[in-house]
């Protein structure tokens, strides 16, 4: 899961080549990788890739701070799905 999300963010959302390679714990907010529009792009990707719906109330800094926190959020939300998908 970390690899999939890291690859997507690295390829689609990182605008500054100096931020690559992207570490899973790098702050997506302080580095400026996520802004209001790239956040939504990421949400659409997560919803399609992992078959979930991200509610407005989950669109919070603590969930989207880094690749690691995004994965923690997804695991907490969809334990069953995560198990079947490996």
């Amino acid at each position: 899961m970390e690899t999939v999300i890291n690859e997507y963010i690295s390829q689609e959302l990182v605008r500054d080549p100096e931020l690559l390679p992207l570490a899973d714990e790098t702050s997506l907010l302080e580095s400026g990788i996520l802004d209001s529009l790239s956040l939504l792009q990421l949400v659409v990707f997560l919803e399609e890739r992992f078959g979930i719906t991200v509610g407005d109330a989950d669109l919070l800094p603590e969930n989207f701070a880094s690749v690691n926190t995004i994965c923690a959020y997804l695991r907490a939300r969809e334990p069953a799905k995560q198990a079947t998908r490996g």
């Binding site: 605008r15 907010l29 996520l34 209001s36 529009l37 407005d56 669109l59 800094p61």
Partner: protein, 531 residues
């Protein structure tokens, strides 16, 4: 009385010294404090050798400190040039060189970047650190020198006397700021705005938005975007409080909504895409936004579906659609009545006070009836002085009125096509040329193509806009290259990211053997767009 932007501040400070002028993360300045700190800043700038008419860069996010910097520059009789902290170094270097900037006011964190930017300037006057710092500020001692560039710490600025400076150093036709915007020939162009140009807007805007000293005003637009002129100067005109949305909160729609409630924001001004995000993802009904009285948007067409949703979620504020290129400031306005959004895009409306607008058909006649389409022209005291250092390009857009050739007064050709609705409001139809809007930012397709051509392997490039509901447009680049290796895509994208701000980097990059041609040998853009 002098007709100068900084007088808005000195007058508000005399009238209501203890009212809040600017609130940004961890820092609140009263009008008296802002007035005194900007006096100190002006003295520090004069001490470094800034002379009337000089251009002074501002490399900072919007904050109490950068507002101190802006008023300091104006009080020193100079003109400020916002430098987008998020723009690539190459572009910033171009702006610094083109404008002849020799001194930069920077936030503490951006001091090294500012010193680097001045590295290629023949006689740099130095970097002056803007303050007071917010919650994470750090103090430095004494003027330091990095390479050839002197750095004046905030502590040294703060030690200057805060009393008013004697005498004025500028008059109303002097430049107050230069805003760089996308240029079709490959480099950004500097729009020169005088004190009178900006004051015309600030006076009108404060009245049109109904601002009073009770208001708490926010615009998330950065300093290099002309929407920021509203929250800096119109707010001051009204003696209201300019409130800065923290960078961290701006990313998350729910955080913005929460912040609007917490800060009791009463007037908001932004591009429609931010409001669309708030309407769709902001959970607006969960927050008490009853204080929000006025919502203003400008910069691009607000998709009617999303505007309708916003007005449904938040029915109580007034909704105002403002229109005007950077070159004219806002020149038309329309108040959107409840229920209107279902009828289609909001009109751009009618001319602002003390401004005339008219539309000219391709046959040279005046648009007077619904159904006719023409290019919008603007006349009035808010028009720019011209493009910095580009008299030929200025003459292309600042022209004699086609209907009053005997007048010397120049009018501005917007390049925007408009028509009229039955009520006499202008309606935006589209562009005459190849400029598109992305998140409200102007993007000249030619500038993106010019950046692609700078890549050594790129032979030909065509950039096309793809309509996008949220962004306005996305960019699709079709190129032919001499190198077809695996790494070429990444190399071209990296190259674009070094030259262009992120909203101008193509979203889609396609490689072709050849570009399709029309019978006259031109790149077939229409055919490409239809693919």
């Amino acid at each position: 009385m002098a007709y100068l932007l900084q007088r808005l501040l000195t007058e508000a400070a005399a009238k209501q010294p203890r009212r809040a002028a600017v609130a940004s993360s961890g820092c609140l300045l009263t009008y008296q404090e802002l007035d005194e700190l900007s006096n100190k800043m002006a003295r520090a700038l004069l001490r470094r050798g800034v002379a009337p008419g000089d251009r002074v860069g501002i490399l900072a996010t919007k904050s109490a400190a950068s507002v101190v910097g802006i008023y300091g520059v104006l009080k020193a009789g100079a003109c400020y040039v916002p430098l987008d902290p998020k723009a690539p170094g190459q572009r910033l270097s171009y702006v610094v060189q083109d404008s002849g900037t020799a001194l930069i006011v920077a936030d503490e964190a951006r001091t090294p970047q500012a010193a680097r930017l001045l590295g290629n300037v023949p006689r740099p006057l130095g970097v002056v650190v803007a303050g007071p710092a917010g919650t994470d500020g750090r103090e430095q001692a004494g003027t330091a020198v990095t390479g050839d560039t002197a750095i004046v710490p905030w502590s040294e600025v703060a030690a200057e006397p805060g009393e008013p400076l004697t005498g004025e150093r500028s008059i109303e036709t002097d430049l107050a700021y230069i805003l760089y915007t996308s240029g079709s020939t490959g480099n950004p162009k500097g729009v020169m705005i005088s004190h009178r140009n900006s004051l015309t807007f600030a006076e009108w805007a404060a009245a049109a938005a109904g601002l009073s000293e009770e208001d708490r005003v926010c615009s998330p637009a950065p300093l290099h975007f002309d929407l920021s002129v509203f929250d800096i100067f119109a707010t001051c005109r009204a003696g209201a409080c300019m409130t800065v949305l923290p960078e961290g909160a701006a990313t998350f729609p729910v955080s913005i909504a929460q912040w609007l409630e917490q800060e009791r924001i009463s007037a908001w001004y932004s591009v429609p895409s931010v409001l669309t995000l708030l309407a769709c993802y902001g959970s607006l009904r969960k927050f008490d936004l009853s204080r929000l009285r006025t919502v203003i948007f400008a910069g691009e067409v607000f998709p009617p579906k999303h505007l309708a949703r916003l007005m449904e979620e938040l029915p109580h504020p007034r909704y105002l659609n403002w229109y005007g290129p950077t070159e004219t400031n806002v020149c038309t306005a329309f108040e959107v009545p409840p229920g209107h959004a279902d009828a289609g895009p909001a009109p751009i409306g009618t001319a602002c006070a003390n401004t005339e607008v008219f539309a000219v058909t391709s046959e040279g006649g005046r648009v007077t009836q619904p159904g006719e389409t023409g290019e919008l022209y603007v006349r009035g005291p808010s028009l720019m002085r011209g493009y910095w250092g580009q008299p030929a390009r200025t003459r292309e857009v600042l022209v004699r009125s086609p209907f009053r050739p005997e007048y010397d007064e120049l009018v501005y050709r917007t390049g925007d096509l408009v028509s009229l609705d039955p009520a006499g409001n202008y309606i935006y139809v589209g562009r005459r040329d190849s400029m598109v809007k992305i998140r409200g930012y102007r993007v000249e397709l030619g500038e993106v193509e010019a950046a692609l051509y700078r890549h050594p392997a790129v032979r030909e490039a065509a950039v096309l806009p793809v309509p996008d509901e949220l962004l306005g447009s996305r960019l699709r680049a079709v190129v032919t290259a001499s190198d077809t290796g695996k790494l070429i895509r990444q190399s071209v994208l990296d190259h674009c990211r070094r030259w262009l701000p992120s909203y101008m980097v193509p979203d889609v990059l396609e490689f072709r053997e050849a570009l399709p041609r029309t019978s006259t040998g031109k790149v077939d853009r229409v055919g490409l767009a239809l693919e």
